[in-house]
Point group: C2
Amino acid sequence: MAKKADVNAFCGVAQALMRMGDTWTLLIVRDAFFGMKRFSEFEKSLGISKNILAARLRKLVDFDIFERRRLEEPGQRYEYTLTKKGRDLWVVLTAMRLWSDKWVFGEENAPLVAIDTATGKRVAKVIAADADGNPVDPARLRWRLGAPRANEE
Amino acid sequence: MAKKADVNAFCGVAQALMRMGDTWTLLIVRDAFFGMKRFSEFEKSLGISKNILAARLRKLVDFDIFERRRLEEPGQRYEYTLTKKGRDLWVVLTAMRLWSDKWVFGEENAPLVAIDTATGKRVAKVIAADADGNPVDPARLRWRLGAPRANEE
DNA sequence: ATTACAGGTTGCACTTTGAAACCTGTAGTT
DNA sequence: AACTACAGGTTTCAAAGTGCAACCTGTAAT
């Protein structure tokens, strides 16, 4: 029987889930994208227990997804902000949100819409692309183990 | 304090996480994308307990992400295959995988590469796009509550 | 009748989660 | 100086979830 650690060691999906595969972590990240920074903001928004929130934030900081910064305020106050690594989770959240829009709410009933301020169009889908930005059809893929090669760039 | 159910009710991310926000569910879906169909295949691949696997598969079938079909074989054998709804999770998994390639393994050390058989190029990124397929820059978004409107399509 | 196998269920120890109470540092108020 | 308020936690403990091992079931081959 394969050990869990082995399975995870070389799978990016598993690695991502080790960092955010629970009920709360990605919701905290989501709230950070909406501008929340403070322990009490996350606590209030999510209705999460303080001990759980503290543990999750600690892990997110350990994983360098959040940054913890002391504030120049009375008492010991901190703010938690997304790092570049954390902000790069935006597309994961968006993919999940659009999946739910389609399959849970139905497109007509999406509760939240992101709109491109430049064009006025909504974010409607998330697509896989090659390095040049050309869309790739998931139906015509093959898989290869190991690192990317130059001629595939 | 906001109740958890309230928070979840109108957030696509939360809805997605309710369906797959645990250690195992998305790994089962991942294995299905690699062609696994049988209880014993998932069990062996993941090193997951039978009771947990059975519970997760039941939930996935309830959510219409997997389909359970009896096979014409000795004993009671079944296969679990992804529905359209389940196959639509491909982009979520890909977004997670590429995030890990970049931030956990490093681009040079990605353990698995997906290659477009038509062009020979690898899947290098996942991008948000409007309905016409034009990429949207996450830095220039605004948010609106409620359903999409026609002029945003 | 016995064995083999897929696909489970059940029982029980162990771990994680969650609600509530409590603690700590700083500042403003009495 | 004592008291209060507030953010950001930690501690405690009961309840829920996880995971291993043992057992069960239907079918077919030996």
